[in-house]
Symmetry: none
Subunit: 403 residues, 2 copies
């Protein structure tokens, strides 16, 4: 039996939990000093937490699995990512606050540049401005002429990214990506993975072809690439599962979308992490069970292979922890959804360090918040999905199991 279902049985009201997710926070030793960004960074507040709380390592999804942001976060929130699968299309739509309805099929869209023969020259259309993106979406939306008894929504996310949402009866999301993931070739036709998805695949092809005609006089950002088709079937919320009312203080669309999917309330996007901490201070008395803060800069620096920027992002986040620690959350967890080593310039499968602080967190011998020190902590090496149970227990939110 899935342990998360036992937490559901045992959940009760209790203290307040604060999650701080340093996106892609962990990493690998980096030349020339062979230290990870966490080891190199001056992080007095994180180190204080490590000394005062319980440390360990989380394997977000499973051994050898490099998580996308969706699965990495789902695990931290107690949703086994092998059971709850969320495509990027769905997250994109949720992240722009699109009012999805059950049964909608969403996909992630890239504006791409195609040459005269229809071959992709740039999969991101030179990373166009969001404003141009909005204009193009509007042109396409207005110009579509479909024989379809339903609705089609094409909406800007940011830069070259948009979301496509199809709404109608009997839509099927078993459609392969049309993005070939390389240049010099034409976009793929929408391919139905099962027979029942063929009408939806034909609809998608028609939309893409009409969009191409509508944008025919442009020489860049003149085609659409689609990825991650997924039907929206709402997940059971954190409230339904764990009696946790959540408040999302994240800034970026994907994390906001994920929070909405789990039934959290959302504050307006904070302008930076300092504002998010200020928001936490303002709303900590509101009686939410879970407060979700998110730092994106750590992951962005890792993706850019910029080790120094990652160190700086960690140090900047650490400075804001001063104010966060002043709140004295009942339970404070700092961890990451996955590692993004600057050495790799990409997400990776390595376990992420975690520290959990509460009056009932067993202290261990760990003195620094980094990958190697945390390996010696009392939380041990665990699946990421374990974290929510530990947080709930420390908040007094789980009744005794059996007599």
């Amino acid at each position: 039996m899935d342990i998360t279902e036992i937490w559901e049985e045992l959940a009760q009201d209790g203290g307040r939990i604060v999650y701080l997710v340093l996106d892609g926070g962990g990493g690998l030793p980096h030349p020339p000093h062979d230290r990870s960004a966490l080891e190199a960074a001056q992080t007095p507040n994180l180190d204080h937490l490590a000394r005062a709380g319980s440390c360990g390592l989380l394997e977000p999804v499973g051994p050898g699995i490099t998580p996308g942001s969706g699965p990495g976060h789902l695990a931290l929130f107690g949703y086994d990512p092998l059971r709850y699968r969320i495509g990027r299309g769905l997250l994109s739509a949720l992240g722009i606050d699109f009012p999805l309805r059950p049964g909608d099929v969403a996909a992630r869209v890239n504006f791409a540049s195609l040459d005269a023969e229809g071959r992709i020259t740039d999969r991101r259309a030179g990373r166009i401005e969001s404003e141009l993106n909005q204009n193009l979406c509007r042109q396409i939306q207005d110009g579509l002429d479909l024989d379809f008894d339903g609705e089609v929504f094409l909406q800007t996310v940011s830069g070259h990214r948009a979301a496509l949402v199809l709404r109608g009866a009997e839509l099927d999301d078993a459609i392969a990506d049309t993005d070939p993931q390389r240049t010099g070739v034409a976009p793929l036709a929408a391919k139905a993975i099962r027979t029942s998805a063929e009408p939806t695949a034909r609809l998608v092809d028609t939309i893409v072809a009409q969009a191409r005609r509508i944008l025919a006089d442009r020489d860049r950002a003149n085609g659409l690439l689609l990825r991650g088709f997924q039907r929206y079937d709402p997940l059971p919320s954190l409230e339904q599962r764990f009696r946790l009312s959540g408040l999302c203080l994240a800034r970026y669309p994907m994390y906001r979308g994920l929070s909405r999917l789990l039934g959290m309330e959302l504050l307006d996007p904070p302008s930076d992490f300092a504002s998010a901490v200020a928001g936490l201070m303002t709303h900590y008395q509101d009686g939410h069970g879970l407060y979700f803060l998110h730092v994106k800069e750590t992951d962005a620096a890792g993706e850019d292979s910029d080790f120094d920027a990652k160190v700086a992002a960690l140090e900047a986040a650490d400075r804001e922890l001063d104010s966060l620690l002043d709140i004295q959350p009942d339970v404070l967890v700092v961890t990451s959804d996955h590692t993004t080593p600057a050495l790799m310039g990409a997400h990776s499968w390595h376990p992420v360090p975690v520290v959990l602080h509460s009056p009932y967190a067993r202290r261990d011998a760990v003195e620094r918040f980094d990958e190697v020190a945390c390996a010696g902590g009392v939380l041990g090496l665990r699946p990421g999905v374990h974290l929510m149970g530990l947080a709930l227990a420390n908040a007094g939110r789980l009744r005794k199991f059996g007599a």
Copy 2:
């Protein structure tokens, strides 16, 4: 596949295993010295074992799960507590040596005090003496006049606690507790959770109403509260599963009941832990596969938030280990069914330290038997249910898997 089923496939005869369960033995750092009871206690024998054996941490049921005594022990014996669920009613009946038959429905009973309007004034009837309890059980048992083609047994456990056992055809245990868990209100009617339990629920209501009339001239201990209805479906025994004949040397009813449920033989209850160790010395040559010793005082002190008493209980148990070590068991395991930190005055979810000693146990760098030291041991952090496999292997009781 469940790993415990692989042990079943591989089980063979072998050496003798001794389990010493320090009930609620682990804990948390405690003021003013911020040491746990295990850290504060002088336990030269446990520390010797830690140096000579393999150490680690066990998570008895799962991350964040605070185990009752039943699930905590089941895990140590290799029964996944999420799969084998035992209610307190069943354990109560087993613990008084009641000869349960398959299909019996048992419940735990509290004698409570009710006022003239039938509202509960004391859920434990002032913790009456066991002798009064026995008299009341006999009065009720003799006075019941039921239209029921079966048998009803009401038997004293101790203090205000008793066990009710219903025996007859087609009884169903899907009945909610009648104990509202608070005073100032009347006991709840027995509520069938599914339709097939309605006849059993009506039978329970009749018994409770007749008991109330029989005790009508009393102003305390004049009502019954029922909890934990459960049908007795025998578990596969340790012998059936792992070819282990067990001998229980525990003193207290619940642990004896659990041992009986797993098919162990039982010695007469020892008067204290020293007597249990003496019993082990006497019976170690009897050819049992598993000897189960149990120390209750560690848990009782934790529940009472009495840190000093917990330290004393650990030290007292450690002194008796002298004699136990003289026996040189083939495999000796010392661990706990759950933590009971004096800081919390209750069971908790924290991992318990474990030491396993045998000629084939890999020695590690751990020098003391406590929570933080054991975190660095070679057994790592594991689910509690793993322990039995390790003990069987060290006793030479598991054949090679595959060729």
